[in-house]
């Protein structure tokens, strides 16, 4: 009976949660057209307490997306979340990120001037343009959720979400992130070009979109996000789904086309993302579709492949294999009694 009550509660709560995530996504979609699935993924990462890396050609809407997302949940006032944007350049220094101690004349003492990292949503634009020193400073703060300067340790905000972008072209004079550091990002997404119809639609309505961009509303506040993040932890993951993730991770280790396979951390992150994605899709449980949709975004950038061919095919075929296994699987095969 208790269980039933719980499920009842969940069923009641669910619409509200769904409303919130849907609200957020719809809000972003007023500006970013035809990329709902990507938006869903980015929101999933947000809810999974992770960070996301967007990689694509210039002009595909990376920065716009990140900004819109940030504006939807952040406002530069006391109640809202803080949103900061840093354009990474080769001469950027770690201090420019984390801040520095400066001498305060009035107090006659060094005080800590907080850098842009002390915010809720950070857009790190063109992350590969900065020197490794800066990159690692950012990545460390992402991993630890805190900043250490000298003896002092400064805690970052409870909600700290980094949206980094990078450019795959013009790599001259850049510092590409090594795989070990890419690992910090829950997902690496490429936005791709929109389909023809959407593109035409964008051209037709560019004025309105521009208007929307300037008047993006804040639809969720900090508490909403934190509540959603807690909700993610309650999502039910079936043992067979877990088995499938284990299988995929294990398969990357035995595949001959893969040099660096997935780690256990990858698996954990995968499950976190799956849970969040299920919530974003208004479900309280994970299904195989989630695996199929997220596998590439979550796992692909963590693996070093032997060659281009393997880069294109291996992961997909491993995932397809597991999807087929799950699709044929007979779980919970009791009869349904209709009253």
């Amino acid at each position: 009976m208790e269980e039933q009550n719980e499920t009842m509660e969940q069923n009641i709560q669910q619409p509200q949660i769904t409303d919130k995530t849907q609200l957020l996504i719809d809000n972003i979609e007023t500006v970013i057209k035809g990329k709902r699935s990507k938006i869903e993924m980015i929101v999933s990462v947000l809810l999974a307490r992770g960070h996301v890396l967007l990689e694509d050609n210039p002009g595909t809407g990376k920065t716009l997306l990140a900004r819109t997302l940030a504006q939807s949940i952040a406002a530069n006032n006391a109640k809202g979340l803080t949103f900061k944007r840093i354009q990474f350049t080769p001469d950027l220094l770690p201090m420019d990120l984390i801040g520095s101690h400066i001498f305060d004349d009035t107090q006659k003492d060094f005080i800590f001037k907080k850098g842009p990292l002390f915010c809720n949503v950070l857009l790190a634009d063109e992350i590969n343009r900065a020197s490794p020193k800066v990159q690692s400073a950012l990545l460390e703060s992402m991993a630890e959720n805190q900043i250490s300067i000298g003896d002092l340790t400064y805690k970052l905000q409870d909600l700290f979400f980094v949206v980094a972008t990078q450019n795959p072209v013009e790599i001259e004079g850049t510092y590409p992130l090594p795989e070990a550091q890419l690992d910090r990002f829950f997902m690496k997404l490429s936005l791709d070009y929109v389909d023809d119809e959407t593109e035409a639609d964008i051209y037709r309505n560019y004025l309105k979109i521009n208007e929307n961009l300037h008047s993006v509303k804040q639809v969720l506040n900090l508490n909403d996000i934190l509540q959603l993040q807690c909700e993610v932890d309650k999502i039910y993951v079936h043992d067979e789904i877990i088995a499938s993730i284990r299988n995929i991770v294990a398969a990357t280790r035995s595949d001959t086309g893969i040099l660096l396979p997935c780690s256990t951390r990858s698996g954990i992150i995968f499950i976190k993302c799956l849970k969040a994605f299920a919530l974003v899709n208004s479900r309280t449980f994970v299904i195989e579709d989630d695996i199929k949709t997220l596998a590439h975004a979550v796992l692909h950038h963590r693996i070093i492949f032997k060659n281009n061919d393997a880069r294109k095919k291996t992961l997909n075929s491993l995932v397809d294999k597991e999807i087929t296994r799950l699709a044929k699987l007979k779980i919970n095969s009791n009869d349904l009694l209709v009253e």
């Binding site: 299904i287 195989e288 579709d289 199929k292 997909n316 075929s317 087929t324 699709a327 919970n332 009869d335």
Partner: protein
């Protein structure tokens, strides 16, 4: 990982079922045909097929994993070669080893061939093309060695091969390309077919080049339809290298060259003398059977299925118990009515004749197989005694004009007697017309004219016969014989013309078939009842052993028999002297001891043994006393005196002490005193038994081998198998057909069966719906309608493919199903209601889109069903 293994297994299974097994079947047929034409193969096609199958099976299973072909095959060949070397080094029995080596080589070759085929089928898509071409080449070889070219014959061989080629190429492409685009597959299929035709032509050309000599030989005999086997038409070589007489004879352009070393067929002692005091041997011809049927088109003399007056006695010696006999009293009684007859015994020792074959002088009525003395067992295979009613007037000497005064005298005597026969009016009409029947054609008409010319002066039948004989033995003005014996009479200029006419009117050269055939028609033209006989000409070669005759391969002969009222059938041979026959080698072996006539033979069981006096109580079931046979319904007890008895089991000598109660056996007595017991025909059995001394002295006791029942059963099984050899072809064919039909039905009904099973398990009519099977059934139905899930997730599939196409609520169902599958949330009753109703609506909507015939057609597509269970990850979508 598991999925991977399962997939590999399915692929192996597919290849085995759809490629390897048809290939093995095709090979089996090819081997069967090859066996008929090549002696090396030893007529064991079933075992050979098994070897091939073993090879193909193992290779197919092995090479579907990542084994390398070259090293594995190298190891295999090395092992086989080592085994061959070991076998050839066994020095136990030289010839045995050689035979085993030959057999092993056949095995090894076939196994490796199968191995390579298995490898090819499992690794290469296009191997089927090569395989089909090889089979086609074998077909060419078979047709070439068959040498009987007829359109239907060629069609019979090539049509199945073409069908097989199409099948195997298509199947190979299908099995290797599950999941690939069908249009492309069809293109590949066409390409392969074209490849087959090309390869086939190349191989035809190559075989044509290689086998040019064979072809030219066949061309030479293109209208003669003859095999190049020696003595075709008279003797036939069996698979166990024994010979039997064929039931056919035709005047071929070539009789086959006389072998340099003709093989000895059998040795016989014929108890027939011209004069019993002087013991001048009178060699009578040995008859195998009569050819009373004539096929005018091919000029073939054949055995008639109905032999009039049941005057041919044809027992199978190997099927009669030793020392027991088979007698045809009807023949004996008819023959004994004739005057001037006597009973002639013949003892036959088989060398190369089949043990089933029975030969005896004219009008045989008795056959009794006997044991061979131990010393001669190597030389002779079997022996039997025969009895025939032979006329005093019969004999090889009477045939040819002779210079021997004594023989001339006998010939004159014979003529005098036969001249008393003036006509055949007393003969029954059916008999007379049967034996004077002539075909109607131009040749017979001109033959009739010629015969009338020759016999113009002759009055009695005997005169006419002599006139015919003299016609064939006539000499021209230079003293050269007009008719000559040749084994290569050649062919008439016009193809298809009568060879007999060519012989009689043009070439005057021929062999026994020509002489006998023409003589038969001439005699019949004179109204003399006569028939054609095949058997052996008896040639007296040895002066030392009177009455003993050796019969060689080249003595197989055909001649005519003439019926004289009151005197019966008489041999009449017009074949002019055959030099070869007289030049046959002098026999070097000495004849075996004359067969011991068992005066008493009794079969039964030992009931008690007296070891001190060496006496045995014997329950007699069957006995022969001086060639008279008696069977007792209830066994009679007699006492056997075993003091001087040789006890045998098979070939081994036993001691008296080794006998035990219950042993059954055959007791034989060669005691001379028993010879005087002459039972009269109607004497009761018990009286005869009383005439036999009690205890009776036994000279030989043959114990039946132990494990009687099982062994006999086995033997009879083997015999049955041998007998069924001819029918087994049909039964194998029927079996293949049944298997094929069963497989076909299985394949056709499989998709339906699976679908019905899923629907049943879904319990649609119940209130308890099983959602898993609803899901399975709907997915299967969609798959069968070519709406495949491919690499999509079920939900994706439902929303993007299925619902778009059929506008069902499949996506909604799928969400419910997935919730049921993966979540911990209970399904609400609304959802249950929905699931319960969903499937029927789903099916209805889908059925609306197609006609019934379309759906049935789609369900017949087994490939689609296979796709449901196999997946090709990473393949093109």
């Amino acid at each position: 990982m598991k999925q991977d293994k399962k997939n590999v297994l399915i692929k192996i299974l597919l290849k085995l079922i759809f490629l390897c097994i048809p290939a093995v079947v095709a090979t089996a047929f090819a081997l069967k045909e090859l066996n008929e034409h090549y002696a090396v193969l030893d007529n064991n096609w079933l075992a050979q097929t098994c070897f091939f199958f073993a090879g193909i099976f193992i290779a197919c299973v092995l090479f579907n994993s990542r084994l390398r072909f070259l090293p594995v095959t190298a190891i295999l060949i090395a092992v086989l070669m080592i085994a061959a070397a070991i076998i050839s080094n066994i020095e136990l029995f030289e010839f045995d080893a050689f035979l085993y080596l030959v057999r092993f080589r056949v095995f090894a070759t076939l196994f490796v061939a199968g191995w390579i085929c298995g490898w090819g089928f499992s690794r290469f898509k296009n191997f089927a093309v090569i395989f089909a071409s090889i089979i086609a080449v074998i077909a060419i070889l078979i047709t070439v060695s068959q040498s009987e070219f007829s359109f239907t014959g060629i069609l019979k061989i090539f049509l199945p091969i073409i069908l097989f080629a199409v099948y195997i190429v298509y199947m190979s492409a299908a099995v290797h390309n599950i999941g690939a685009l069908s249009r492309r597959r069809f293109f590949i299929f066409l390409l392969n077919l074209f490849g087959i035709i090309l390869l086939f032509l190349i191989m035809m050309f190559l075989t044509g080049l290689l086998m040019q000599s064979t072809f030219t030989e066949i061309e030479k005999t293109w209208d003669n339809k003859t095999k190049q086997n020696e003595y075709e038409g008279l003797l036939e070589r069996n698979s166990d290298s024994t010979y039997t007489m064929t039931g056919k004879m035709r005047p071929n352009p070539a009789f086959g060259k006389g072998k340099d070393n003709p093989e000895p067929m059998f040795v016989a002692f014929i108890n027939n003398y011209l004069d019993n005091e002087q013991k001048i041997p009178n060699p009578v011809y040995v008859v195998s059977h009569y050819l009373t049927n004539f096929d005018t088109f091919t000029e073939t003399f054949e055995k008639d299925s109905i032999i009039p007056y049941s005057d041919l006695f044809q027992p199978v010696p190997s099927e009669i118990d030793l020392y027991f006999s088979q007698t045809d009293t009807a023949i004996m009684n008819v023959a004994l009515k004739d005057t001037l007859t006597k009973i002639v015994d013949m003892d036959v020792y088989n060398i190369n004749m089949s043990p089933k074959e029975f030969v005896a002088p004219i009008t045989a009525f008795f056959c009794q197989p006997v044991a061979i003395e131990d010393d001669y067992k190597v030389q002779f295979k079997s022996a039997y005694r025969t009895k025939s009613v032979v006329s005093d007037l019969n004999g090889a000497y009477f045939v040819y004009p002779s210079r021997d005064e004594l023989l001339l005298m006998y010939q004159q005597q014979r003529y005098d007697i036969l001249a008393s026969v003036e006509n055949f009016d007393d003969l029954p009409e059916i008999f007379y017309s049967y034996y004077t029947n002539l075909p109607n054609n131009d040749f017979i008409d001109s033959l009739k004219n010629l015969t009338a010319e020759i016999t113009a002066d002759a009055q009695t039948p005997a005169d006419k016969i002599l006139a015919v004989r003299d016609y064939f033995f006539a000499v021209d003005e230079y003293g050269e014989p007009v008719f000559k014996y040749t084994e290569n009479p050649g062919i008439p200029g016009i193809p298809g013309a009568s060879k007999l006419a060519h012989f009689l009117f043009e070439s005057h050269k021929g062999y026994c078939a020509h002489f006998a055939g023409v003589t038969l028609f001439m005699l019949r033209a004179c109204g003399i009842p006569s028939r054609l006989t095949v058997g052996f000409a008896t040639v007296d070669r040895s002066d030392k052993n009177k009455g003993w005759y050796w019969f060689y391969e080249d003595q197989a002969h055909a001649w005519v028999q003439i019926y004289f009222p009151k005197f019966g059938w008489l041999d009449f041979d017009t074949t002019v002297g055959n030099d070869n026959m007289e030049e046959s080698p002098q026999p070097d072996g000495t004849p075996p001891m004359q067969i011991n006539k068992a005066n008493f033979a009794g079969a039964g069981k030992i009931t008690a043994i007296d070891t001190i006096n060496k006496l045995i109580d014997f329950a007699l079931e069957k006995m022969t006393v001086n060639d008279n046979e008696y069977t007792f319904e209830t066994p009679k007890q007699i006492i056997l005196d075993m003091t001087a008895t040789k006890i045998l089991r098979d070939t081994a000598n036993l001691k008296f002490s080794e006998l035990s109660d219950g042993d059954s056996g055959l007791s034989l007595s060669f005691d001379e005193t028993l010879k005087d017991i002459k039972p009269s025909p109607n004497m009761p059995k018990n009286e005869i038994l009383e005439m036999i001394p009690n205890p009776v002295k036994i000279d030989e006791f043959r114990v039946d081998t132990e494990k009687n029942d099982t062994e006999e059963e086995e033997k009879s099984n083997v015999d049955n198998n041998l007998q069924e050899d001819e029918t087994s072809n049909i039964s194998i064919f029927v079996l293949c057909l049944i298997i094929f039909v069963a497989a076909l039905i299985f394949i056709i009904t499989l998709p339906f069966a699976i679908f019905v099973y899923y629907r049943y398990k879904a319990k649609l009519k119940n209130k308890n719906v099983n959602i898993f099977y609803v899901y399975k059934a709907s997915m299967f139905l969609l798959n069968q309608l070519r709406c495949e899930r491919q690499n999509m997730t079920p939900l994706q599939f439902a929303s993007t493919v299925a619902d778009k196409k059929y506008e069902t609520e499949f996506e909604k169902f799928m969400t419910v199903y997935l919730q049921f599958k993966y979540s911990n949330i209970e399904i609400t009753s609304d959802e249950k209601e929905f699931v319960n109703k969903f499937y029927r609506n789903f099916e209805n909507k889908i059925y609306k889109k197609y006609s019934k015939i379309e759906i049935i057609k789609k369900f017949l597509n087994i490939k689609q069903t296979l796709k449901f269970y196999t997946n090709n990850y990473g393949r093109t979508k």
